[in-house]
Symmetry: C2
Protein backbone atom coordinates (compact mmCIF):
# COMPACT_ATOMS: atom_id res chain seq x y z
CA UNK A 1 0.00 0.00 0.00
CA UNK A 2 3.02 2.30 0.49
CA UNK A 3 3.79 1.90 -3.21
CA UNK A 4 0.19 2.67 -4.13
CA UNK A 5 0.28 5.81 -1.96
CA UNK A 6 3.53 6.91 -3.60
CA UNK A 7 1.89 6.52 -7.04
CA UNK A 8 -1.13 8.46 -5.80
CA UNK A 9 1.12 11.31 -4.71
CA UNK A 10 2.93 11.27 -8.06
CA UNK A 11 -0.44 11.36 -9.87
CA UNK A 12 -1.49 14.38 -7.79
CA UNK A 13 1.78 16.13 -8.69
CA UNK A 14 0.93 15.62 -12.38
CA UNK A 15 -2.50 17.21 -11.90
CA UNK A 16 -4.32 13.88 -11.90
CA UNK A 17 -6.73 12.83 -9.15
CA UNK A 18 -4.30 11.29 -6.61
CA UNK A 19 -5.10 7.59 -6.65
CA UNK A 20 -2.55 4.81 -7.01
CA UNK A 21 -2.72 1.05 -7.60
CA UNK A 22 -0.32 -1.91 -7.57
CA UNK A 23 -0.79 -5.44 -8.91
CA UNK A 24 1.10 -8.00 -6.83
CA UNK A 25 1.78 -11.63 -7.72
CA UNK A 26 3.69 -13.90 -5.33
CA UNK A 27 4.84 -10.95 -3.27
CA UNK A 28 6.24 -9.06 -6.27
CA UNK A 29 4.80 -5.84 -7.72
CA UNK A 30 4.09 -6.66 -11.37
CA UNK A 31 2.71 -3.24 -12.25
CA UNK A 32 2.24 0.10 -10.55
CA UNK A 33 0.17 3.02 -11.80
CA UNK A 34 -1.41 6.24 -10.72
CA UNK A 35 -4.51 7.73 -12.26
CA UNK A 36 -3.70 8.69 -15.89
CA UNK A 37 -6.99 9.95 -17.28
CA UNK A 38 -5.72 13.46 -18.12
CA UNK A 39 -2.34 12.33 -19.41
CA UNK A 40 -3.88 9.80 -21.81
CA UNK A 41 -7.19 11.55 -22.56
CA UNK A 42 -8.77 8.29 -21.47
CA UNK A 43 -11.61 8.29 -18.96
CA UNK A 44 -11.01 4.59 -18.39
CA UNK A 45 -7.37 5.10 -17.31
CA UNK A 46 -8.12 4.96 -13.59
CA UNK A 47 -5.19 3.66 -11.53
CA UNK A 48 -6.69 0.18 -11.13
CA UNK A 49 -7.42 -0.31 -14.84
CA UNK A 50 -4.06 1.14 -15.88
CA UNK A 51 -2.27 -1.24 -13.48
CA UNK A 52 -4.33 -4.26 -14.61
CA UNK A 53 -3.68 -3.51 -18.28
CA UNK A 54 0.06 -3.10 -17.66
CA UNK A 55 0.19 -6.40 -15.76
CA UNK A 56 -1.74 -8.26 -18.49
CA UNK A 57 0.48 -6.79 -21.20
CA UNK A 58 3.64 -7.69 -19.29
CA UNK A 59 2.49 -11.25 -18.63
CA UNK A 60 0.83 -11.75 -22.04
CA UNK A 61 -2.39 -12.94 -20.48
CA UNK A 62 -5.97 -11.71 -20.26
CA UNK A 63 -6.59 -12.61 -16.63
CA UNK A 64 -4.71 -12.28 -13.36
CA UNK A 65 -6.08 -15.14 -11.30
CA UNK A 66 -3.21 -15.27 -8.77
CA UNK A 67 -2.89 -11.52 -8.43
CA UNK A 68 -3.77 -9.16 -5.62
CA UNK A 69 -4.58 -5.49 -6.22
CA UNK A 70 -3.74 -2.68 -3.82
CA UNK A 71 -5.45 0.66 -4.43
CA UNK A 72 -5.65 3.79 -2.29
CA UNK A 73 -9.39 4.42 -2.81
CA UNK A 74 -12.44 2.14 -2.96
CA UNK A 75 -12.82 1.21 -6.66
CA UNK A 76 -15.60 2.84 -8.70
CA UNK A 77 -18.25 0.87 -10.60
CA UNK A 78 -16.11 0.60 -13.74
CA UNK A 79 -13.00 -0.54 -11.89
CA UNK A 80 -14.84 -2.92 -9.54
CA UNK A 81 -16.17 -4.73 -12.62
CA UNK A 82 -12.77 -4.70 -14.37
CA UNK A 83 -11.19 -6.23 -11.23
CA UNK A 84 -13.83 -8.95 -11.34
CA UNK A 85 -13.28 -9.62 -15.07
CA UNK A 86 -9.51 -9.86 -14.50
CA UNK A 87 -10.19 -12.50 -11.83
CA UNK A 88 -8.13 -10.62 -9.23
CA UNK A 89 -7.85 -12.81 -6.12
CA UNK A 90 -7.69 -10.23 -3.35
CA UNK A 91 -8.50 -6.53 -3.31
CA UNK A 92 -6.91 -4.29 -0.66
CA UNK A 93 -8.10 -0.71 -0.64
CA UNK A 94 -7.47 2.39 1.46
CA UNK A 95 -10.28 4.89 1.96
CA UNK A 96 -13.96 4.26 1.31
CA UNK A 97 -15.68 6.35 -1.37
CA UNK A 98 -19.36 6.84 -0.52
CA UNK A 99 -19.91 9.07 -3.58
CA UNK A 100 -18.41 6.85 -6.26
CA UNK A 101 -17.35 3.54 -4.72
CA UNK A 102 -18.89 0.26 -5.85
CA UNK A 103 -17.50 -2.30 -3.41
CA UNK A 104 -18.83 -1.36 0.05
CA UNK A 105 -20.88 1.57 -1.28
CA UNK A 106 -22.99 2.28 -4.35
CA UNK A 107 -23.90 -0.76 -6.42
CA UNK A 108 -21.85 -3.15 -4.19
CA UNK A 109 -21.00 -5.03 -7.35
CA UNK A 110 -19.39 -8.07 -5.74
CA UNK A 111 -22.66 -8.91 -3.98
CA UNK A 112 -24.73 -8.79 -7.19
CA UNK A 113 -25.96 -11.77 -9.23
CA UNK A 114 -24.44 -10.24 -12.41
CA UNK A 115 -20.98 -10.41 -10.79
CA UNK A 116 -19.44 -13.74 -11.76
CA UNK A 117 -16.19 -13.47 -9.81
CA UNK A 118 -15.73 -11.58 -6.54
CA UNK A 119 -12.28 -10.99 -5.04
CA UNK A 120 -11.74 -11.21 -1.30
CA UNK A 121 -11.93 -7.61 -0.07
CA UNK A 122 -9.87 -5.97 2.70
CA UNK A 123 -10.16 -2.25 3.39
CA UNK A 124 -9.05 0.61 5.61
CA UNK A 125 -5.30 0.45 4.86
CA UNK A 126 -3.70 3.89 5.38
CA UNK A 127 -7.16 5.27 4.82
CA UNK A 128 -6.55 8.62 6.51
CA UNK A 129 -3.51 9.34 4.36
CA UNK A 130 -5.31 8.25 1.17
CA UNK A 131 -8.40 10.32 1.98
CA UNK A 132 -6.41 13.39 3.09
CA UNK A 133 -4.50 13.38 -0.18
CA UNK A 134 -7.77 13.49 -2.14
CA UNK A 135 -9.27 16.18 0.10
CA UNK A 136 -6.15 18.36 -0.27
CA UNK A 137 -6.19 17.88 -4.05
CA UNK A 138 -9.81 18.90 -4.51
CA UNK A 139 -9.54 21.71 -1.99
CA UNK A 140 -6.48 23.01 -3.91
CA UNK A 141 -8.37 22.87 -7.20
CA UNK A 142 -11.26 24.83 -5.74
CA UNK A 143 -8.87 27.48 -4.39
CA UNK A 144 -7.30 28.10 -7.78
CA UNK A 145 -10.61 28.52 -9.59
CA UNK B 1 -26.35 -0.04 -35.73
CA UNK B 2 -25.52 -1.74 -39.04
CA UNK B 3 -21.89 -0.67 -38.58
CA UNK B 4 -21.88 -2.00 -35.03
CA UNK B 5 -23.28 -5.33 -36.21
CA UNK B 6 -20.63 -5.53 -38.93
CA UNK B 7 -17.93 -4.99 -36.29
CA UNK B 8 -19.55 -7.62 -34.08
CA UNK B 9 -19.42 -10.13 -36.94
CA UNK B 10 -15.77 -9.25 -37.61
CA UNK B 11 -14.97 -9.74 -33.91
CA UNK B 12 -16.63 -13.16 -33.97
CA UNK B 13 -14.56 -14.09 -37.04
CA UNK B 14 -11.41 -13.23 -35.04
CA UNK B 15 -12.51 -15.51 -32.19
CA UNK B 16 -13.66 -12.64 -30.00
CA UNK B 17 -17.10 -12.48 -28.41
CA UNK B 18 -19.13 -10.88 -31.25
CA UNK B 19 -20.02 -7.44 -29.96
CA UNK B 20 -19.52 -4.19 -31.86
CA UNK B 21 -19.73 -0.50 -31.00
CA UNK B 22 -19.67 2.84 -32.82
CA UNK B 23 -19.21 6.37 -31.46
CA UNK B 24 -21.14 8.93 -33.51
CA UNK B 25 -20.82 12.71 -33.36
CA UNK B 26 -22.97 14.96 -35.57
CA UNK B 27 -24.02 12.03 -37.70
CA UNK B 28 -20.45 10.89 -38.36
CA UNK B 29 -18.87 7.68 -37.04
CA UNK B 30 -15.79 8.85 -35.14
CA UNK B 31 -14.68 5.39 -34.04
CA UNK B 32 -15.77 1.82 -34.60
CA UNK B 33 -14.61 -1.24 -32.68
CA UNK B 34 -15.43 -4.83 -31.99
CA UNK B 35 -14.55 -6.65 -28.81
CA UNK B 36 -10.73 -6.90 -28.63
CA UNK B 37 -10.06 -8.58 -25.27
CA UNK B 38 -8.25 -11.61 -26.71
CA UNK B 39 -6.32 -9.70 -29.35
CA UNK B 40 -4.97 -7.20 -26.81
CA UNK B 41 -4.84 -9.42 -23.71
CA UNK B 42 -6.94 -6.71 -22.11
CA UNK B 43 -10.08 -7.57 -20.17
CA UNK B 44 -11.14 -3.95 -20.40
CA UNK B 45 -11.08 -3.92 -24.23
CA UNK B 46 -14.82 -4.47 -24.63
CA UNK B 47 -16.21 -2.95 -27.84
CA UNK B 48 -17.68 0.09 -26.05
CA UNK B 49 -14.50 0.96 -24.16
CA UNK B 50 -12.29 0.33 -27.19
CA UNK B 51 -14.51 2.65 -29.28
CA UNK B 52 -14.56 5.33 -26.55
CA UNK B 53 -10.76 5.19 -26.18
CA UNK B 54 -10.30 5.51 -29.95
CA UNK B 55 -12.68 8.46 -30.15
CA UNK B 56 -11.02 10.27 -27.23
CA UNK B 57 -7.56 9.68 -28.70
CA UNK B 58 -8.66 10.88 -32.12
CA UNK B 59 -10.28 14.02 -30.74
CA UNK B 60 -7.63 14.67 -28.06
CA UNK B 61 -10.22 14.98 -25.35
CA UNK B 62 -11.18 13.06 -22.23
CA UNK B 63 -14.94 13.31 -22.61
CA UNK B 64 -17.45 12.87 -25.44
CA UNK B 65 -20.30 15.10 -24.37
CA UNK B 66 -21.92 15.43 -27.82
CA UNK B 67 -21.44 11.80 -28.77
CA UNK B 68 -23.86 8.93 -29.13
CA UNK B 69 -22.82 5.30 -28.71
CA UNK B 70 -24.30 2.40 -30.65
CA UNK B 71 -23.56 -1.10 -29.32
CA UNK B 72 -25.02 -4.47 -30.24
CA UNK B 73 -25.44 -5.74 -26.65
CA UNK B 74 -26.57 -4.09 -23.41
CA UNK B 75 -23.38 -2.74 -21.78
CA UNK B 76 -21.92 -4.57 -18.77
CA UNK B 77 -21.22 -2.90 -15.42
CA UNK B 78 -17.73 -1.77 -16.44
CA UNK B 79 -18.86 -0.33 -19.78
CA UNK B 80 -22.02 1.29 -18.41
CA UNK B 81 -19.85 3.22 -15.96
CA UNK B 82 -17.26 4.10 -18.63
CA UNK B 83 -20.06 5.44 -20.86
CA UNK B 84 -21.22 7.59 -17.95
CA UNK B 85 -17.68 8.89 -17.23
CA UNK B 86 -17.23 9.76 -20.92
CA UNK B 87 -20.44 11.82 -20.72
CA UNK B 88 -21.95 10.02 -23.72
CA UNK B 89 -25.23 11.76 -24.61
CA UNK B 90 -27.31 8.89 -25.99
CA UNK B 91 -26.84 5.13 -25.77
CA UNK B 92 -28.46 2.89 -28.39
CA UNK B 93 -28.11 -0.82 -27.80
CA UNK B 94 -29.32 -4.01 -29.47
CA UNK B 95 -30.08 -7.05 -27.33
CA UNK B 96 -30.62 -7.07 -23.57
CA UNK B 97 -28.15 -9.04 -21.42
CA UNK B 98 -29.88 -10.36 -18.30
CA UNK B 99 -26.72 -12.19 -17.16
CA UNK B 100 -24.21 -9.37 -17.45
CA UNK B 101 -26.00 -6.16 -18.44
CA UNK B 102 -25.99 -3.11 -16.17
CA UNK B 103 -28.41 -0.71 -17.87
CA UNK B 104 -31.85 -2.37 -17.80
CA UNK B 105 -30.60 -5.43 -15.90
CA UNK B 106 -28.15 -6.08 -13.07
CA UNK B 107 -27.06 -3.01 -11.14
CA UNK B 108 -29.04 -0.62 -13.41
CA UNK B 109 -26.18 1.82 -12.97
CA UNK B 110 -27.86 4.87 -14.54
CA UNK B 111 -30.58 4.80 -11.89
CA UNK B 112 -28.11 4.73 -8.98
CA UNK B 113 -27.09 7.68 -6.77
CA UNK B 114 -23.39 6.94 -7.45
CA UNK B 115 -23.99 7.54 -11.17
CA UNK B 116 -23.30 11.22 -11.86
CA UNK B 117 -24.19 11.30 -15.56
CA UNK B 118 -26.76 9.09 -17.26
CA UNK B 119 -27.12 8.98 -21.05
CA UNK B 120 -30.53 8.77 -22.68
CA UNK B 121 -31.04 5.06 -23.38
CA UNK B 122 -32.77 3.47 -26.40
CA UNK B 123 -32.78 -0.30 -26.86
CA UNK B 124 -34.00 -3.16 -29.01
CA UNK B 125 -32.28 -2.18 -32.27
CA UNK B 126 -31.66 -5.28 -34.43
CA UNK B 127 -31.83 -7.23 -31.19
CA UNK B 128 -32.61 -10.60 -32.77
CA UNK B 129 -29.61 -10.41 -35.08
CA UNK B 130 -27.32 -9.23 -32.25
CA UNK B 131 -28.53 -11.95 -29.88
CA UNK B 132 -28.44 -14.71 -32.53
CA UNK B 133 -24.83 -13.86 -33.33
CA UNK B 134 -23.87 -14.31 -29.66
CA UNK B 135 -25.87 -17.53 -29.32
CA UNK B 136 -24.24 -19.01 -32.45
CA UNK B 137 -20.78 -18.00 -31.19
CA UNK B 138 -21.16 -19.61 -27.77
CA UNK B 139 -22.92 -22.65 -29.19
CA UNK B 140 -20.02 -23.06 -31.67
CA UNK B 141 -17.48 -22.81 -28.84
CA UNK B 142 -19.28 -25.50 -26.84
CA UNK B 143 -19.38 -27.80 -29.88
CA UNK B 144 -15.62 -27.60 -30.39
CA UNK B 145 -14.78 -28.39 -26.75
Amino acid sequence: MEMALKEARAAGDRGEVPIGAVVVIDGTAVSVSGNRTRELNDVTAHAEIAAIRMACEKLGQERLACADLYVTLEPCTMCAAAISFARIRRLYYGAEDPKGGAVDNGVRFYAQPTCHHAPEVYSGFNETEAADMLKAFFSGRRDTK
